[in-house]
């Protein structure tokens, strides 16, 4: 089981909040390691969420939901 974490885009503010802007996969999809899962945004800077492992993904946050850097936003098993 692998955790997918909200990427740290702001190094100055480790606790900065952002949003999960877009999911490119649906809950329950099979994903490959390294696959682009979604896009996040922290203060106008966008970043990518890549799958750390292969398996079935379970999405834990919704689109446009406010989230903190470092939070677990999905699980892959």
């Amino acid at each position: 089981m692998a955790e997918v974490v909200f990427p740290r885009l702001s190094e100055n503010e480790p606790d900065a909040e952002g949003v999960l802007a877009t999911w490119f996969v649906s809950d329950g999809d099979q994903v490959a390691s390294g696959q682009l899962l979604g896009e996040v945004m922290v203060e106008k800077v966008s970043g990518e969420v890549l799958a750390p492992a292969a398996g079935q993904v379970h999405l834990l946050v919704g689109e446009d939901q406010t989230t903190r850097q470092g939070e677990v936003i999905a699980r892959i098993d």
Partner: protein, 353 residues
């Protein structure tokens, strides 16, 4: 397939999609990347297309993958770098040049319409200009009169260049690959509102399944985005999204069954698809975010009239931007754009007779 399903999947795309979704921006970048892998002659240049990945995300990841020899951040001179692209194309390369906002074409128009578009003809067909000029169009986010125009009517009017306008991620990738492979100059015009950018208003149809392998979407062929029988809505780009939303609402609430045609290309223009639809429905609405007069909507009306004016059971309607500079104030901007409200009002007017 039922009449209410959208059929915007790329024609010619292999069956059995993975279901993997991309934004339109990423689909464009993937199309460019796959062509750059296939053909060493493909290079990309423009303002902020390298380090930044394009201000609308059209070239994300290309610099990291292909390096500074093939992905060039240019100085702020459209004449210079569009001219550079023309020179490279004439010498046998396949440049993809980004004009950051279509509104900036003015300072470089000579390069575009007198050189890029005409060298092939001036050389008696001996010289080819296999170049893609891609550019961002459209408004709706208070960027005002010099950063919100569409202008595809202007480019379509001038001979010597193909013009393509995708409305969705799958077509964006397929049209980009077709444009790069085409030996003619192709102006590729993408609306900022369909790019799926996180910092713009979220638009659900901007994120959709895109086949992973390379594929071509045919240039010059429209798509029937929604089959219907009561009236034909001919449109393109972001307006396809609005037309489909209006079609769903009209079907559910009023029992009106609209056919929505996504043009996808302006040059060549798919007259056959338009005419065969109008022949069946007898009612035509053109929705165009470009200026109303002397443009796309008038051209479509002319093609119907010169084929058979008897095809129409009611006068045609068009929803376009009136002939004014696009306002900055949100209320005024919404009054000129082809919003769902304006489209619905036009459909009701068209179908009441």
């Amino acid at each position: 397939m039922s009449a209410t399903e959208t059929t915007t999947a790329a024609e010619g795309a292999p069956a059995g999609q993975s279901g993997r979704k991309l934004t339109t921006a990423r689909a464009m970048a993937e199309g460019i990347a796959q062509e750059m892998e296939r053909d060493a002659g493909v290079v990309v240049l423009g303002e902020d297309i390298g380090n930044y990945g394009g201000i609308f995300g059209s070239t994300t990841g290309l610099l990291e993958k292909f390096g500074r020899d093939r992905v060039l951040d240019t100085p702020i001179s459209e004449t210079a770098f569009i001219g550079l692209g023309i020179g490279a194309a004439v010498e046998g390369m396949r440049p993809v040049v980004e004009l950051m906002f279509v509104d900036f074409f003015g300072v470089a128009m000579d390069q575009i319409y007198n050189h890029m578009a005409k060298i092939h003809f001036e050389s008696g067909g001996n010289v080819r200009v296999p170049m893609v000029l891609m550019t961002a169009t459209g408004g709706g986010y208070s960027d005002a009169e010099q950063h919100s125009q569409c202008l595809w009517g202007t480019f379509a009017h001038l001979p010597g260049m193909k013009v393509v306008v995708p409305s969705n991620p799958a077509d964006a990738k397929g049209l980009m690959i077709s444009a790069i492979r085409d030996d003619n100059p192709v102006v590729y015009m993408f609306h900022k509102g369909i790019m799926g950018l996180p910092w713009m208003a979220k638009n659900p149809r901007s994120v959709a399944p895109v086949p992973e392998e390379p594929y071509e979407t045919p240039i010059g062929k429209a798509a029937v985005a929604r089959a219907g029988s009561d009236a034909t809505v001919v449109t393109l780009s972001l307006s396809v999204h609005h037309a489909l939303d209006v079609a769903e609402k009209m079907a559910a609430e009023h029992g009106v069954d609209l056919e929505v045609i996504d043009l996808r290309s302006l040059v060549p223009l798919d007259s056959d698809t338009i005419l065969s639809s109008v022949a069946r429905t007898g009612r035509l609405l053109v929705v165009d975010e470009d200026y109303q007069s002397f443009g796309l909507s008038g051209e479509i009306a002319a093609r119907v009239a010169e084929t058979d004016p008897g095809l129409l059971r009611a006068p045609l309607r068009r929803v376009a931007v009136p002939d004014v500079p696009i306002p900055y104030a949100r209320s005024l901007e919404r009054a000129v754009l082809p919003t769902p409200e304006r489209i619905e009002a036009a459909v009701r007017d068209l179908c009441k007779a």
